[in-house]
Structure formats: C-alpha cells, structure tokens
Symmetry: C2
Subunit: 252 residues, 2 copies
C-alpha cells in the first residue's frame, strides 16, 4: 500500500432550494472539514436539481472517478425527494424496503402518529444497500458501496457523518497552516510563488480581504507533511519580514 | 420567439479554499438570486479545484449545454489564480493583455504603488474577450461570449453582477410563494403531491425544520406564472386548514 496515496471524495448536492437561492448550502464546507480529518480530500462537487437524470449522471460520473461519493438532500418523505429512486435507476437496481430501516422508523414514529405510507418512503433503499445511523431524526442514511446517501438538513447530515467517523479508509490528513499579513497580495505574488516552488508537497493559497479600511491577505499552506508545512510557513514569514511586513500565525 | 422558453445558466466555483472547507461559499446563493430576477434559471453548479484540466472540463461542458456559464474565483494576481489561462486553453485561445483592462489597472494602482508585473496579470484575458466592470476593486471581470468570468470574493462578485444587471436576455422571472406550517412534512406528503399535480406549471418544494421544540415545514411554490402560484398557495392553505393546520403566508 502506498502511504502517500491521496484518497478522493466527491459530493453531489441535490435540491432545487440550493439552485433557487432560497437556501444557503452548508454541507460542502461541513463535509470538506470532516473529510480532512478522515485523510480524504474533497476533490469536486456538483449541485443538481431535483431531477432524476441529473442526479443519476452526476452520481455515476463522480462515483466512477473518486474513491467515495457522497450525496446530500432528497431523502425525505415528500414527492420532491427522489434521490433513492434516481440513484437506483442510474445503476439499474431495484428499490426495496430495508427491514431494519422500517423497524427504526416504526419505533421512531410509534409515539408520533405511526408509520404512514409517506414515512415508509424513508425506508426505501437501492437493493443491496446498508444503512447509515441517524441519531437525530430516525430516518437513516444509505450506503451503496462507496456511495453515501445523506440528508440535506445540515444538523442531520452532521449526525450521519458522526456515525461514519473513523470507518472509511483514508490517507494522511491534510494539515493547513495560516499566516495573516496586512499586505496586498499583488505586492507579494512573486514571493508566494517562490515559497511554494521551494517547498515540495506544499500548496499555498492566497486569500485577500479588505477590513478596517486596509487590505490584507491570509496565506494558507496545505500539505500532508506537517513538518514541511511548518517549514514553509517559517520561510514565508521570514521572507515577508525581510520586506518589512509583519505576519500573524493562525491568520487575521 | 417562445415566451415560455426557459433560459438556463450554470456556475463553476473555482477554488481549493471551498473544497478544503476553509471558506463557506456564498456565490451560489448570490448568483441564483440575481439570476431569478433576470429571468434565468440556475440549472447546475460545479465546484472544482485550482486545476487547469478540471476548470477546462467543467466550463466547456456547462457552457455547451446552458445559455450562460458563470465562473467565480481564481482571477487575482497570485500564482494560484489560473482561471483565465485554463479557460483560454480549453477553447484553444491565446491569452492577451486587454488594453482597457491595463488602463483601468494603471489608473487604479497609480496611487497604490504602481502597476507591477503581478498586478498586470489581472489584465490578461482570453483573446476576443470583453470586460465586466468592477466598481469595487479595479480589476475587471471578463466576458467571453456566453461565459462570464468573475471574482471569488462575494462583494466583488456582487459588483460585477450589478454591472451585468439587465444586459442578459432571459425569460419570465420565476416567482416563489411560501407557506409555513407547524406540521411534520411526512403527515401531509400526499396532500403536497396532489396540490402540485393539480396546478400545472407549479413546483412545490417542502423544507422541514425543527424549532422551539416543534417540527414544521415551509412549502415553497415556484412558477413563472404569478397567478398560478397564488392559486396553488391558496388551495394548499385551504387543504391544510381542512386538516386543522394553520398556515403562515410568507413562511415561518
């Protein structure tokens, strides 16, 4: 096994509410942060409408070229929740009621009006799938091989990720070190490029901002090698210092 | 011309900072809301890394199947800003310095240390492109046919959209009407499905929430026909009322 192998994941965000601007997505950032800790890199994301063909195309393409593919949204009880059917159709699988999902929902709704036909929709999975625990609201997420079908409501997504923590094979976690500086990034562009070239395995991102009437930037060094990232930040701070720019570890 | 034609746009969000979880994207929701007013529907979004091949693939695919394709991010002065080069390469175009962009930057930086080599990078465009005004920070956006290359910092993106307002051909704007109700969506799933079926051209989205210890949902009716949306909301409110559920116009 290659210890330096980079494990990659993709995310398909499903929902008209994101594309209409009604809802601000929070699952991209949430999944990205969680994946970092698992040693997996979020490589690409697609946001698609509540449309079976669009969901199927996105999931088959991204699952085919990444180690893992996550989806968020469209697994509730209403008519606009079509994720399970769309993914099953894309892979030529039947949709079946998962017995344990049914039992979980029966128990959850026992004191909440009972398991209606609409609620039973949330026990439907592509044939062969297993469940992802949901400690918050009963209805489980679904795992189909390397595809993870999760809820769209961020705190429910969080509960499903929590139950997956530590269960996925990954590589070395990416560490990031941030250096803040009250300087216009265009003044130090050459210096940044050279710092990146001089530290193998490190990537430097430059994120400008405008605050308190002044321009500044945070420079973020990312690497799977923590020591290399530290050295890169040290050298960058020294180079900026030599030009008279003070820097702030951890960012501004 | 078909008055009912639906105009579609796509967005490519470019940047490691989004995929690493460091930065919460705000441009998807911002662009979606702006497009609604222009009578254009945001049909799909991709988030890609600072990687020329990934940017090129996303932009050529999405520009090819939508009326408009927008990008955000990667047009600053630093080494990780590769959007212009990636798009030019994907379409087999040279990168040239745009004379008016150069003049804008010369003027902007006249009192800010002058136009350095790094800053001049922000005047580079794919051959044949025109500029998108940026009233906030000088460096313009770029229009290449139906492709709109914009900044990643949300308030600069906003300034670029502002200068494009009213200039793009679109169709009827989508109106949305929201009805809030303290009911679990699974209790009224059938009713929602029937309301959508009974009102042609209307789509109903169901967005559950948990607040103040109670479950509720907002039902959002979307249509290009304002009257149809109103009728659909009226009928939905009446149907929920008949089951004893009070509703709140405008949502909860």
């Amino acid at each position: 096994m290659d210890a330096n192998r980079i494990w990659k994941a993709a995310l398909v965000v499903i929902g008209d509410e994101i594309l209409s601007g009604r809802t601000q997505d929070r699952n991209i950032a949430q999944l990205a942060s969680w994946l970092n800790v698992q040693g997996i890199r979020l490589a690409e994301v697609r946001v698609v409408a509540d449309d079976a063909a669009a969901i199927g195309e996105a999931v088959t393409t991204l699952a085919g070229r990444n180690d893992y593919c996550f989806t968020t949204g469209g697994i509730g009880p209403t008519h606009d929740d079509i994720t399970v059917d769309a993914i099953a159709a894309a892979f030529g699988l039947e949709v079946v009621v998962h017995p344990r999902a049914r039992a979980i929902l029966e128990s959850y709704y026992a004191t909440r009006g009972g398991l209606t036909e609409a609620r039973l929709r949330m026990a439907r999975v592509p044939a062969g799938a297993t469940l992802i625990e949901n400690s918050v609201s009963g209805a489980p997420g679904i795992r189909l091989g390397a595809i993870f079908i999760m809820a769209g409501v961020p705190h429910i997504t969080a509960a499903m990720l929590e139950s997956l923590t530590g269960t996925l094979e990954g590589g070395l976690p990416v560490v990031s070190r941030t250096l803040g500086c009250w300087v216009g990034e265009s003044e130090v562009a050459d210096l940044l490029r050279e710092a990146e070239r001089g530290h193998e395995g490190c990537q430097i991102g430059s994120y400008p901002f405008f605050r308190e009437g002044r321009v500044g930037a945070n420079f973020v060094v990312r690497s799977v090698a923590a020591e290399a990232a530290e050295r890169c930040v040290d050298d960058l701070a020294a180079a900026l210092g030599a030009l008279g720019h003070e820097t702030v570890r951890g960012g501004i």
